[in-house]
Symmetry: C2
Subunit: 242 residues, 2 copies
């Protein structure tokens, strides 16, 4: 009986996922775009706690990870690259992808343009929606975070990080696009390197920021579809030419 | 002596304005775009005070102005269309433009694409930057407002209103674009009618919202350049087609 109940639950989940996939495709017109349903991860700890831990480890001779544009002296050692609040993992840049896949079960997707469909946007802060994105010969990490910068007023922050060095990151541009209810919001920027701390990018607000009311306008039945595109060419040519 | 000092001051102002104009043109590449330098207006009262006044006038038989998507029963009478906090003017839709020009000295510009250059972004909230924009046979009002929704954390809100009815407004799409420091932020939406209250559009957050750090990243020497474009065609065709 339990087996049948579980089977029925699994079938219902599949139908639900298929329906969400269809809805996300409806929003973004480009044919052949990959839609990935991303479930939330409830964060157990706030960023300052982790940064405080890092501070303590600095006193013991280990590099402080949570500083902006900080370059790690030993390029082989990468602390603080796992963006999950509660994880204090440290490791080499080359094994970050496998750590995120194996330890945190974060999916990795192929393709220059994908649709990131974050479910259950109503869940209380702090909550993360994370996915890895493989394209143009590199791996990127998309982090959507619900966080209360001002008590009682949760906001959504979305950013993309390159799993690589800051010099490598400078060669790319990422675009996040929301499109619904006759409103369109686009954010384009150079991805940050994962060697910089995702927490500081978000606390600086140097990313796509949505208040709750805008997030609701762009959501469909509690899910937010974000179109993601990565390019190598400099799209800010108008600025560069001048 | 005073005359010479004043003349010298005026020449310095002209040089400063010319320099700001050049800087704004540098950011936005399209040739022939009109750049308008917009100086701030410090608001003396907060929106709730005005809405409270409107509430009082409702009790005396005058229409309440500050409700969302509210349709004024007598289309000839337009209360609360003047977006300045401290103004309690009421009048016909046809004379809103002349009221804004004459009483508040708000400039009106021609052209489908203009650059709005808001100066002195550092001024304390509440502050408004307002301009009228005449194109496609209609007049639009662009409002940039610095306001503290959360005490001690000022934010910038930018929206475009049609000086016309909600039905007329539905035929247009406006785009606000920020482009600087290898970051680009675009907001596209249908303009609201000026018959709806600009205060409620901003308090709902259904507009382009910038926190202080993002506004600083997009600013150049205390001035924020916003590229504005208005179209009649439905740019949200991907949504409409589905």
């Amino acid at each position: 009986m339990l087996f049948f109940t579980q089977c029925f639950g699994a079938v219902l989940d599949l139908i639900h996922l298929r329906f969400q996939h269809y809805k996300a495709k409806r929003v973004f017109s480009a044919a052949g775009q990959l839609v990935c349903v991303v479930n939330p991860t409830h964060s157990l700890k706030y960023a300052p706690i982790r940064c405080a831990t890092a501070q303590a480890s600095t006193e013991q001779g280990i590099l402080p990870p949570c500083h902006h544009h900080e370059v790690v002296h030993d390029p082989q050692l990468v602390p603080c690259t796992c963006p999950l609040f509660s994880c204090q993992w440290e490791g080499h840049l080359e094994v970050v992808v496998s750590h995120l896949r194996q330890t945190h079960r974060i999916n990795i997707l192929q393709g220059t343009e994908i649709v990131f469909l974050a479910t259950d946007m109503h869940l209380p802060a702090p909550t993360d929606w994370i996915i890895m994105h493989s394209c143009l010969g590199h791996q990127f990490l998309l982090v959507l975070r619900k966080q209360e910068k001002y008590e009682g007023h949760p906001q959504f922050f979305a950013t993309m990080m390159l799993i690589g060095t800051p010099t490598q990151a400078d060669n790319f541009t990422y675009r996040l696009e929301l499109n619904r209810n006759q409103r369109r919001l686009k954010w384009e920027a150079t991805p940050r390197s994962i060697l910089e701390c995702v927490d500081s990018v978000i606390s600086d607000g140097d990313c796509l920021v949505l208040n709750t009311s805008l997030a609701q306008l762009f959501s469909d039945n509690g899910s937010l579809a974000i179109g993601i595109a990565i390019t190598t060419s400099k799209v800010h040519s108008s600025e560069a030419e001048m």
